[in-house]
Symmetry: C2
Subunit: 96 residues, 2 copies
């Protein structure tokens, strides 16, 4: 497989992770501030298991990072590059 196609596969994986509104809600919240699962459950109005499920996926591709603090688990964006990609997409879809 040529390197360009490899790149596109990687990009597609990222896009797939970003293709669910629920996950964008979570990522947006984390772009604002690192949060516990329960905090995310409240701000996003998603069910707790669903939040956990999405976080697991996002952690799987290294978009978010977890760290324990007492009995809470605090999640944060691994880096803010992804926030820019999201912002760009928002800009695009608003210009449309």
């Amino acid at each position: 497989m040529n390197p360009e196609e490899e790149s596109l596969i990687g990009a597609a994986e990222l896009f797939k992770a970003l293709s669910a509104t629920s996950r964008l809600l979570i990522l947006s919240a984390l772009a604002h501030e690192p949060s516990s699962v329960s905090a995310l459950t409240e701000t996003t109005k998603l069910s707790q298991p669903l939040v956990s499920q999405h976080l697991r996926l996002l952690r799987g591709i290294n978009l978010v990072t977890a760290s324990r603090s007492g009995r809470e688990t605090i999640y944060s964006l691994t880096d803010h590059h992804v926030a820019h990609v999201i912002q760009d997409a928002i800009t695009h879809s608003q210009e449309r």
Copy 2:
């Protein structure tokens, strides 16, 4: 629904369109140069019906534009913003 959530829904739709490697192949080809369906079929090695199907979806959300020329239909990117979003995602997934 608050405006931020609306924005995220729009972004999610865009990301969903970009989440298939096949469509990224097509968009990459079109970023390089406008092409007919048969040209895209050759460069992407996808089947002709599949290319048409993806093009219909991409046209549906205004990422590509069609124009007839003889018996060919030439597709091109509606604007190049989307090419930047893709390039950004590639950069991200390579840095990971």
